[in-house]
């Protein structure tokens, strides 16, 4: 990450160093909501916004944050934005908010947000930090949406609540339960990494 052109940042965050399949960060609060696509969409949009704005804020006030207490300040900034997301959800989408339960609050401890604040926003200008946060969120969103589509389609036979599979389709109960999220994520990581290995091999050969 020597130069920080917007396009480079976008490519790095969404693909070459995707927070999920290259760094396996931030899956804590996320996997649990991937059994339904709508929950995942709301959750990842929330994470993306929080990442973007907390990176922006950290970058803006980085001069005034004493090094020793910066972790706690960053956490407070993140918590501030998470509270906004939570209140908005409660006001406008009470059902979704109820479904997500504690997982909205758990965005605070999502390692991606803290990681971007610490690794990027701490040492870069505000606008590019905001962009970095947003693109990290997009990389995260991409992977989780794939997981959610697979889980909802096979687990319930629906997408966003609409019946997709024919009526004769027998839902796979395992897809609704926790282990499937791990397996699907493992396969996505596997596919993603294999493609990347091919690319780097092609580049060096």
């Amino acid at each position: 990450m020597s130069d920080h052109k917007p396009a480079t940042v976008l490519r790095e965050n969404v693909w070459t160093s995707n927070p999920i399949f290259m760094q396996v960060l931030g899956i804590c609060s996320a996997l649990a909501v991937t059994n339904l696509l709508i929950n995942t969409v709301i959750m990842t949009v929330g994470v993306t916004l929080v990442t973007g704005f907390s990176s922006l804020t950290v970058s803006l006030i980085k001069k005034w944050i004493p090094r020793k207490v910066r972790m706690i300040i960053q956490t407070l900034i993140i918590a501030f934005y998470v509270i906004i997301v939570d209140l908005v959800l409660r006001a406008y989408m009470p059902d979704v908010s109820k479904n997500l339960g504690p997982y909205v609050g758990l965005i605070i401890t999502n390692c991606i947000i803290m990681g971007r604040a610490e690794a990027f926003a701490q040492s870069n200008a505000p606008i590019i930090s905001f962009w970095d946060g947003i693109t990290s969120g997009l990389g995260y969103m991409g992977v989780l949406l794939v997981v959610a589509v697979i889980r909802e389609l096979l687990g319930f036979g629906t997408l966003l609540g609409y019946q997709i599979m024919p009526a004769s389709f027998l839902p796979w109960t395992i897809m609704v339960m926790a282990p499937s999220a791990f397996f699907i994520l493992a396969f996505i990581i596997w596919i993603g990494k294999t493609i990347q290995f091919r690319q780097t091999k092609g580049a060096t050969a």
Binding site: F21, V24, L25, G26, I27, C28, S29, A30, L31, A32, M71, I72, T75, L76, A79, F80, V82, I83, D86, L87, G101, P102, G105, L106, I108, T109, N110, C111, M114, M177, A178, P179, S180, A181, F182, F183, L185, A186, I189, W190, I191, G192, K193, T194, F197
Partner: protein
């Protein structure tokens, strides 16, 4: 929210270890779980530290929630307050351990800073609040979740030692195979769910 039926604390303790393991059923605490599970000693240390912190924070946050936030109508501040309490507990615990025992500090202390951002800790506190647990239940839930997390990370660390020697496809090495291992563990733990019915 709705008043949950009172679950016996002991049932809750075992349920949160086995049937609704905080890690395998609720996906909480994954980050440090994957990063630290490479060797058994660190896994043990971290598991112990998480358990201690979970019990303390569950208890303290319960008191804070029911005696400060709810009477003052400040529930919307709960995220900030909870995370501050967790950070403070971790900080104090680190200093106390440093003073009391140097060897314990070497085993536990180095993992403590990681715990503030461990999702499992905040997750337990939020679950406790949403499910309306009473104090004893909150303690049992905190302890059980901690023990469950500890058990899971020890099991994973042990399995990863074997996997290190196995031929794994290049793209699956590292996080990929770890996720599959965790998935299988999660399936095995689902087998416990016939024993206890909670939630």
């Amino acid at each position: 929210m709705n008043s949950a039926p009172i679950i016996a604390p002991l049932t809750l303790l075992f349920a949160s270890i086995f049937t609704s393991n905080i890690l395998l059923a609720n996906f909480l605490g994954m980050c440090s779980f994957i990063a630290i599970s490479k060797d058994m000693d660190s896994a043990n240390g971290l598991g112990m530290a998480v358990t201690v912190v979970l019990v303390l924070t569950a208890a303290i946050n319960w008191v804070v929630l029911h005696f400060i936030l709810v009477p003052l109508g400040l529930e919307f501040l709960q995220y900030i307050v909870f995370i501050m309490v967790i950070a403070a507990v971790v900080q104090i615990l680190e200093m106390v351990i440093d003073r009391v025992s140097q060897s314990l500090y070497m085993a536990l202390g180095i993992f403590l800073p990681l715990i503030t951002v461990n999702c499992a800790v905040l997750g337990v506190v939020l679950f406790m609040q949403i499910r309306n647990y009473a104090f004893v239940q909150a303690l049992a839930f905190g302890l059980g979740s901690g023990l469950g997390w500890w058990l899971a990370i020890m099991l994973l660390a042990a399995m990863r030692r074997k996997i290190d020697k196995a031929p794994v496809p290049a793209g699956l090495q590292g996080p990929g195979i770890t996720m599959i291992t965790i998935g299988m563990m999660a399936m095995a733990f689902i087998g416990f769910s016939g024993m206890l019915k909670v939630q």
